[in-house]
């Protein structure tokens, strides 16, 4: 009786979903791709009156607050309207709803930091079909789904800088480990690849050995206990590189309260406000990051440039982003902010973000 009912419940749905398709497996499909049709007019003016919306991974995150400040400043300079909106949880599904809403409101420029490289694509396509320029920043989506990506830094450069800072602090000798964000975080994995390649090929790093990569999931507590696990698993560890702001702060907090303080070097990407204390108490010598405010500003200018027809996303196009200066569009429609800034005891008090 009940069994029959269960089948009743599920069968029609399956039938519906199954209808019209047969035997689809991985790798068969694909279609669609970016279509750059319009041509750029490098001499065009920035349009005024554009509407800008910034959609962060989640609101309630100081990093994105800083970016939004930069973007808002740029929007104001360009005579546009700016809105900062987003979900309170960092999930792709909630971002989709926000993208849908924004595309309905026919926002001109959408500045997005994506929670998932693929889940947002169909919504973004709709938004773009409606005339919205989609610029991702901080965290990209599939290149086919957006107009431009504003990268905080060049992957190679981040990886190299991180490795360089670590090497300087431990005289390029000994075991090192990496405390990353999530295992599938695109940025972090690219940087880690660069570091691994450099360690293998660069003779000046011959005495350094990467013994472990662990993931703190960009959660404070997890990163904290992962740091602890690292130190227990590798008694001879000399340095930890944490290319994520959450990770480095947690690791610093752990180190500062233990006997390892000053013994194990810690470097990576962090915000000055979070790291100030640990630089002052000697836990951390030097770390790096880009300026999120400048990143937001550049994203806004990039969006405005695309919406005004100054650029289309083709490689080699050039535009001016206010006081930030001149930028060139790279391959895959990527605009890069520049090399990361290094922070240490000398300069950390000059920054507030």
């Amino acid at each position: 009786m009940n069994r029959r009912r269960l089948t009743l419940l599920t069968a029609p749905i399956l039938a519906l979903v199954l209808a019209s398709c047969s035997g689809t497996t991985q790798g068969e499909d694909q279609g669609g791709g970016p279509g750059g049709d319009a041509s750029a007019d490098p001499n065009a003016e920035f349009e005024t009156g554009l509407t800008y919306a910034m959609l962060p991974k989640s609101v309630n995150n100081p990093y994105f607050e800083a970016s939004s400040a930069g973007a808002e400043a740029a929007a104001n300079t360009l005579g546009g309207e700016f809105e900062y909106t987003g979900p309170s949880d960092a999930s792709a599904s909630s971002q989709v709803s926000y993208i849908d809403t924004l595309s309905q409101q026919a926002t001109d420029v959408l500045l997005l930091s994506a929670n998932d490289p693929n889940a947002l694509c169909s919504s973004l396509e709709q938004a773009r079909a409606g005339g919205t320029v989609v610029v991702t920043f901080d965290s990209d989506v599939d290149p086919g789904c957006r107009d431009l990506f504003v990268s905080q830094v060049d992957s190679d450069e981040v990886g190299l800088t991180l490795l360089e800072m670590a090497a300087e602090q431990i005289d390029a000798t000994g075991e090192i480990a990496i405390l990353s964000a999530t295992a599938n975080a695109t940025n972090q994995n690219a940087w880690i690849d660069v570091m691994e390649a450099e360690l293998a090929s660069n003779p000046s790093y011959a005495d350094m050995k990467l013994v472990d990569v662990v993931y703190g999931d960009d959660e404070d507590e997890k990163s904290f206990s992962e740091t602890q696990g690292l130190l227990q698993a590798h008694p001879d560890l000399k340095a930890i590189i944490s290319p994520t702001t959450v990770g480095i702060a947690a690791a610093a907090r752990y180190l500062s309260g233990t006997e390892f303080k000053g013994q194990v070097a810690l470097t990576g990407l962090g915000t000055p406000n979070q790291m100030r204390e640990f630089v002052q108490d000697g836990t951390v010598t030097e770390f790096a990051l880009w300026d999120p405010t400048a990143l937001g500003e550049l994203a806004a200018y990039t969006g405005a440039a695309a919406a005004s027809g100054i650029i289309t996303g083709a490689e080699g196009e050039v535009f001016t982003a206010g006081e930030l200066g001149e930028f060139t569009v790279g391959a895959d429609a990527v605009v890069t902010l520049g090399p990361p800034t290094r922070f240490n005891a000398e300069n950390i008090d000059d920054f507030d973000f």
């Binding site: 309630n60 993931y215 204390e277």
Partner: protein
């Protein structure tokens, strides 16, 4: 009369033996599981038992332990408090802001956290008792509402370690005789709650309420007052937990304590507190919290894929409740058999 007394003596022996077995079995089982886990981990990696590592563990256990005490009190009355995570977040944010604004002393901050939590707890208690809303629904509602309040208050701001007074951060990271202050606070609370539940009339009333609400009414147990006590206590401890959280992490943002309620309920359930009230101890819940934390900490040390952690916790909850069920069925059968002998 002498014959009766003799019988009474033998009955005493068997009766309490069964009871003790049930109780001790539970605590013993947890201690045993802890010992095995620590033993295995330490044998694979001796540094797991180093002073630093143990301190880290105690740091990590402090907040869950504290919240588990409060949850125990509520669960004993057949209730549940899902709002603890949000209360913790609110209290952490409020005390954090107050600390960074005024630089107040640590004890004052602890009191403030307690007060914020107690107010939230009183809100829960009032909705449940006066509004006759089932605890699950009421606290699910306040889980949302209070988190919303935190979001409103905090927005995208974050309180950083550098904003907090030095003394407070020292309190968060310091330890005495190898025991972190935070853990010491939790253990003190655990002991106090344990004594309250075990040795005070009001505490015993909570067991009575959970064991048989109708009988409690007949026996004149002031249900309303006791329920309020339970929820205020749970809220206050969650509030205190917020202060400890702020002290431990040094940074507080709007998401502090998000989702922690499930860990706490898990600790309590694993610790042998019956989800439908009436039985269980604060000590058990404390051991449950400790066990979960040890698992958390042992996995990276054992180099077991961290992805297993949550699955293990889930399996542990199921095992714990199934085991309790088995034990109580056995015990009931034993008691019944004994009962028929007395007749």
């Amino acid at each position: 009369m002498t014959a009766v007394e003799a019988r009474s003596d033998s009955a005493t022996a068997t009766g309490s033996a069964v009871l003790d077995l049930v109780l001790r079995f539970r605590a013993l089982g947890l201690v045993l599981a802890l010992a095995v886990l620590v033993g295995v981990t330490a044998s694979l990696n001796p540094r797991f038992l180093s002073g630093q590592s143990v301190r880290d563990l105690l740091f990590a256990a402090a907040v869950t332990l504290l919240l588990a005490c409060g949850m125990t009190v509520v669960v004993l009355t057949r209730g549940i408090d899902l709002s603890v995570g949000s209360v913790l977040g609110l209290s952490a944010y409020v005390t954090g802001s107050a600390l960074s604004a005024t630089g107040m002393a640590v004890p004052l901050a602890l009191l403030l956290g307690l007060a914020v939590g107690a107010v939230c707890g009183a809100l829960n208690g009032a909705i449940i008792h006066f509004g006759r809303v089932p605890p699950l629904v009421a606290t699910l509602g306040t889980l949302y509402v209070l988190r919303g309040v935190v979001y409103f208050a905090a927005g995208g701001s974050r309180i950083n370690a550098s904003d907090l007074p030095r003394a407070f951060l020292d309190f968060g990271s310091g330890h005495v005789l190898g025991v972190p202050y935070l853990f010491a606070v939790s253990v003190l609370v655990l002991a106090a709650v344990g004594v309250f539940l075990g040795r005070y009339r009001a505490g015993r009333d909570l067991y009575a309420l959970g064991s048989n609400p109708e009988a409690a009414r007949l026996a004149g147990v002031p249900a309303g007052r006791r329920l309020m006590t339970a929820y205020v206590l749970s809220g206050a401890l969650a509030g205190l937990g917020g202060v400890l959280y702020a002290a431990r992490f040094g940074t507080v943002d709007a998401s502090a304590g998000y989702g922690i309620e499930l860990d706490v309920v898990a600790a309590v359930v694993v610790g042998g507190v019956a989800i439908f009230g009436g039985s269980g101890t604060a000590l058990g819940a404390g051991l449950g919290a400790l066990l979960l934390t040890v698992i958390d900490n042992a996995l990276p040390v054992l180099r077991i894929d961290q992805f297993w952690q949550q699955a293990i916790v889930g399996a542990l909850i199921l095992a714990a409740i199934a085991l309790d069920r088995l034990v109580s069925v056995r015990a009931a059968r034993a008691l019944r058999r004994k009962g028929s002998h007395v007749d």
